[in-house]
Symmetry: C2
Subunit: 623 residues, 2 copies
Amino acid sequence: MSENRHGPVVDTSASRHARLRPVAPQDVRVTDDFWAPRLRRNRDVTIPAQHAQCETTGALRNFARAAGSVGGDFSGRYYSDSDVYKWIEAASWSLATDPSAELGDRLDAVIKLVAGAQDTDGYLNTYFSVDREGERWTDLVVRHEMYCIGHLVAAAVAHVRATGETALLDVALRACTHIAERFAPGEVPGTCGHPGLEMALVELYRTTGDERWLTLATWQLDSRGAGVLDGSEYLIDHEPVRNQSRVTGHAVRALYLYAGMADVVLETGDAELRAALERLWADLSGGKTAVTGGVGARWDGEAFGDAYELPDRAYNETCAAIAHIFLAWRLLLLTGEPQYRDVVETALHNGVLPGLSQSGTEFFYQNPLADAGRHRREPWFSCACCPPNIARLLASLPGYLYTTSDEGLWVQLYIGNQADLRLADGTTVRVELTTGLPWRGAVGLTVSPAAPTEFTLFLPVPGWAGDDVTVTVNGSAVPVTAGSRQVALRRTWSAGDTVELTFGTEVRALVAHPRVAATHHRVALARGPLVYCVEQADHDAPVAAIRLRGTEEWAAEHQPDLLGGVTTLTTAGTAVAVDDGPLYRPYSAVADEAQVSVTAVPYYAWANREPGEMRVFIPLASR
Amino acid sequence: MSENRHGPVVDTSASRHARLRPVAPQDVRVTDDFWAPRLRRNRDVTIPAQHAQCETTGALRNFARAAGSVGGDFSGRYYSDSDVYKWIEAASWSLATDPSAELGDRLDAVIKLVAGAQDTDGYLNTYFSVDREGERWTDLVVRHEMYCIGHLVAAAVAHVRATGETALLDVALRACTHIAERFAPGEVPGTCGHPGLEMALVELYRTTGDERWLTLATWQLDSRGAGVLDGSEYLIDHEPVRNQSRVTGHAVRALYLYAGMADVVLETGDAELRAALERLWADLSGGKTAVTGGVGARWDGEAFGDAYELPDRAYNETCAAIAHIFLAWRLLLLTGEPQYRDVVETALHNGVLPGLSQSGTEFFYQNPLADAGRHRREPWFSCACCPPNIARLLASLPGYLYTTSDEGLWVQLYIGNQADLRLADGTTVRVELTTGLPWRGAVGLTVSPAAPTEFTLFLPVPGWAGDDVTVTVNGSAVPVTAGSRQVALRRTWSAGDTVELTFGTEVRALVAHPRVAATHHRVALARGPLVYCVEQADHDAPVAAIRLRGTEEWAAEHQPDLLGGVTTLTTAGTAVAVDDGPLYRPYSAVADEAQVSVTAVPYYAWANREPGEMRVFIPLASR
């Protein structure tokens, strides 16, 4: 499998139904002022800190205990193994782009620990080792055994693609063989209360070429709705996935499941699954996505709400935003439609990034759109799914910047980088992309094929730019069709050819669909790919008192010393009197309003200063 | 204890710090067109149906099992006993006002069953009988043992006050003696994860005169904040109750606890506890009460939200509205301040009544202020706290209509009735109160003391009437001070004296405090004591599309055949286009609006027709 030593995150390079093919993270070096420091901090601070957490919490020790090399009790929850697997995945992708002997040694040690914990029959879950062996596979609803193996497989695939080493892949193959025998396709229905294994199995198929993993993934999808999981809507078992039209239940579980469906469709073209995905995506994007790309409105059940149920106090789990990216990325690979890259971009900047502190060591589990000042990031959680999920996504981010197709090269995310890419016909192209994003809407590309080559360079026009876009090639303007979400530049490219793009970064005051009551007559501010919020730290008047007109002009100013360097937005607004009067009063009694300066900061940066009120959707004045 | 054979619900007749004294339910016969049929249905339909549920679920059988007369497993949850106790309380109050040999026999049988389950040491909880005896008192945080005994005591007190019989009181006394020995005041801290026993113990003190129950109640209050309950904020154990200022945690638990604090203050005048109650009430009423009187905004944890966190999808558990009434009623007895009777009235009509179906056999657990059409009442719940809580409150409702004091007689709720009351000086007074409420703001009283007597008749001016009030005595107008919330008529009353009151019932379009973002630029409609809502059944346009101006005139029309007879409100509003456009769009893009007729029905009556959207807070047009 030497061809896989250099693999992408989602490898559709041989997927028959994929419109797009990915590139490998190791071929892309992120260089810009916004993302490069974040990826460096992920490597230098976050990944080591998370390894320490896996030691502190006993998640690593559980593997030694399962191997019999230490005694004592199991630590953590029945899915604690997945913390370690996600750390392996993060460390692997980090090594792919930034080799490090120290991290490599640490990773090898962890993998050795994992391998040692595997039972001779391939079974692997340290919760069930030693004293709970009889409970294996007795509770698919709750116990997350397949979910954990899903993360093992994802880690193993990342490890082999990053390093070419197969030690962990061998462990994963034995574990999946065990599952395939225990829940044999066509014979024994089997699927997990927490999805995740499905997409991992398809990736295992892509890595090994062994069709049994694709068959097993499909079998797991189709085992849903057959009662294995009690028909629970929370577990997305209320009807066969092929029949579903409404995203419901636990948000992370649902989106991991749908991402697995998309992976199967990429391989098989299954028309029923594809139609279900289209219905589900319409439901998700049409009424169940926060303006930040966060999803899963309800704290109870970490679940999707009803359509248009999009409150301030949204749950918006960090993992759900990551799952949203996983699904959107696969649908992008399937279709090439720019709407999906817009979701990846929005959710990355505004759904995932807020989950991480400026220090790189504290995390949000929930990402509400307003807060009274009590919601703060924490170093870890008893259910620690989110922190290593952020780490593995950031470590693999270079793999999300480009795709290719038979026609040529597609830029997907405007993140500054230098890349060495290979087109479908084998042509190698060096690309340099510079940008001031997310602050300034300027992008420059230098495209240098090894030899002059005709191909199309696909450049997305992000939804946030509207029609405010200009494109030049080697200094000559290229017309852009109004409303177009993509510019396709087909020509014979030669070394040093340049493309310049500008995108409008006017501040946008956004309102939600008229069915959304919770944010009625309120606006969310956005500029470029970023959603903004107002924080108490920038205001004397209570944040809750601030009112806008919705049509005001905003002054954007870059402040390099604030919150790690952010562009703030400032305008003249008003503040209503927040009196001690009754909680409910006649409509006619409108409070007096005072002029105040209103400052908004990027939502991703909130809660990095002293605690205080925060609000994304700001009320418009009633008068 | 013969003086208690005829007792009120909360007996402050000998409470040294009470401003007001209550009257007994059996002295008041509810006669009006609104409440009399509801109390009749409670007696004839709801209470029998709930007995049947206690049989079906095994809650009754658990007592036989504990007595050793049947085998098998325990049924339900560790607090299932409380379902039975609440049923006993409901049945007892029902018998107090409406004697029934059939219900009396059934009640006696249930009490016999309960008595038979008590252990020789006084312990009583059928969950821990037979096979869990070793687990008694091992988990105060979760297991609700004291909570269940609280309901036993409340049932026993109701039973003795309604019937004069002491069989259940003896059981309760033995159970409380067991607790007082196990968690001896001053020696062994003890308090329950779910409060409720505190107020019951004070009532037991009032019934028996034995101070040890008051001491035990105070000890249980002061055991909080000492770590017995792990310092949990959810369990209101995060600080001593005397220090608390912020209502937080599980709403029912918190309000039961505070009601117990109020009971202790009524007896002891404890200044620290009283000051804490004042702070907590200010927090509750100032920013954590729904317009319906419902409380506890969060579905996660059935908990209070932050201040001003008052979303459409509020949890507003029916039991929490009842607990709100319990607390407000005690603070009314303590202070005589009309604000508390307003809360009792609002929560009764709009927080509790929605919990009951028109049929009397189905119940809401949660009472959100908007719904997409999926929230429906159910006949029972695996956690069945709410249904019998409604039944016991309605059965005891006649006891909430009046209070007395040294100065005279206080009307508290304008519910039509005939009553035979005894003033402080022993004078007996027959009162007849007729009213068209909640539909028409007319109230007539005939006051007939046994002999001409000077006393004050206190008549509240409900907050909803504002200054739109007239009062006549024997046909002569009495001036009413603007802003006054009470009219005090002191004179020598003679048999047949009449008082006529009128209260304005203009439709009120209410907005929430400017800090409340969730209902910004939306109005809730209210008329008289009732909050209204719009339901899909009355509209062609989606409820979500309806917009108002906030200043429109409403036509009120009584419709005797609709929803059991309701006054509907109708006006000309608009409906915005609910397009298929993007979920988020620029503020400037306002959808077209069409003229539509808008009809509102009382919130208590919602979800009694075909499922569909419902909304209490209706958006105002943005333009």
